[in-house]
Symmetry: C2
Subunit: 262 residues, 2 copies
């Protein structure tokens, strides 16, 4: 493969948080860094129109579809090292923020072992995009001062839920909404705790629905096959309803759905 | 005050996450929205060079210095309503992300009561900028799958600490590092748990230092008078050290400091 790189100068890798969804949720720093890249390794969940920021680069799809996770990660690590070692400026474009559920540590480790320099540019993570789209702040002064983020599925493909904080956001929960309802109740969440589900957060076709912990299984239909974040607790409740009736915690058992304009 | 707004058309408010620090950590969407604003209400912690995106607008400093928090918030709510009611497109520029520790709910509530439309554009929150700058992912596959964010100080100015997740990030902890060390141990964190402190995260003059829970008081000198985020647990450890010696949890008791280039 011939690359527009100079093997006489040292290559490097810039990890860039693409943000969650539409290309304009990337940071200015991230967009500018794309413009310097000779090679871009991108994930399945990044917006194709980000290519406009780096038309000069070789774009390589390293989305993990069709591989086992371990195979895919080893291949990504090898590609990063190979292209940077050839002298290229390599952009590693990750959906959301690289430091949250991005397996960044494995790629940093591979580069460190190969003696290749790296930089990380942060991005907007999906929980923040969901909160913005639904206008439901994840913290609420005096009522919700702690926030926990976790994956519903562990690395061993086991479903877990917890009650760590006033508001808890579960990533990658889309396929497990019915099970998640039960696990949340097992973890101590009251059945009438507000839950908000946003799928494709940050994209023009994002969808949201309101539930409570006990009625969460009803969300399966609307969000089927779409990456979703599930917010549970204080931060899931609408601001106005919460403030107008501070003792009411129940929200609609039937999903009140809305599609947001881009 | 004469505003370049048209009282015949309805005004609105766009909440914009400025990101943590340098202006280029704002999203493209946020920068474009600034360009549409006739009035900008900005916080003390936002980069003055963001003015370049909205030279046409009236810029109003609503940083809370010199007011009690309650007075300042009521004044901000009133200014938002007043300017939007006059027909202006108002940008409310908040440091970091509006949905995290931004008191967004109070401003949304004031606008809802006044019947004024609003939109929220997310931003990079300080914990993500600190993780990017130090190259310490907040989640680590198989070792750190949960992350909690909270303020060290409550609304009642009481210092609290907790052990909610594999990695815990405390915002607004800069003045309380010595007390925080004790509270973390009271909350169950082992004294040799890694702690990383980053002050002015996302700015060119950001500083970081490594500690463990028991030696955190030593961070006071370096970070005195600077807004700081404190990361505790798995996500505070350097990637290479952690992977090379997975049983070692102790990091340097003496701060290993570094200033990062912009």
């Amino acid at each position: 493969m011939s690359l527009p790189a100079n093997p006489a100068t040292p290559g490097r890798v810039i990890f860039i948080g693409a943000g969650p969804g539409s290309a304009d949720l990337i940071t200015l720093r991230g967009a500018r860094a794309l413009g310097q890249a000779q090679v871009v390794l991108f994930d399945a969940l990044t917006d194709p129109s980000l290519r406009d920021f780096a038309p000069q680069a070789l774009w390589l799809d390293v989305g993990k579809r069709g591989f086992t996770a371990a195979t895919a990660q080893a291949r990504i690590n090898a590609l990063l090292v190979q292209h940077a070692a050839s002298g290229a400026v390599v952009a590693r474009l990750k959906g959301g923020d690289p430091s949250i559920f991005g397996r960044l540590e494995e790629e940093l480790q591979a580069l460190a072992e190969a003696g290749i320099a790296s930089e990380v540019i942060p991005g907007v993570t999906a929980a923040l995009a969901a909160a913005a789209a639904t206008q439901r702040p994840l913290t609420r002064r005096g009522q919700g001062r702690s926030l926990a983020l976790s994956t519903a599925m562990t690395a061993e493909l086991e479903l877990r839920a917890s009650q760590r904080a006033d508001t808890e956001v579960f990533y990658m929960a889309g396929r497990q909404l019915a099970d998640l309802s039960r696990r949340l109740q097992d973890a101590g969440w009251a059945g009438d705790t507000p839950v908000n589900v946003v799928s494709r957060a940050g994209w023009p076709d994002q969808l949201m629905s309101d539930h409570c912990v006990s009625t969460l299984p009803a969300a399966c239909v609307m969000h089927a096959g779409r990456p979703a974040v599930v917010t549970v607790g204080v931060g899931a409740a609408p601001v106005c309803r919460l403030l107008a009736a501070p003792t009411a915690t129940a929200v609609e058992g039937h999903p009140a759905s809305a599609a947001f304009p881009p």
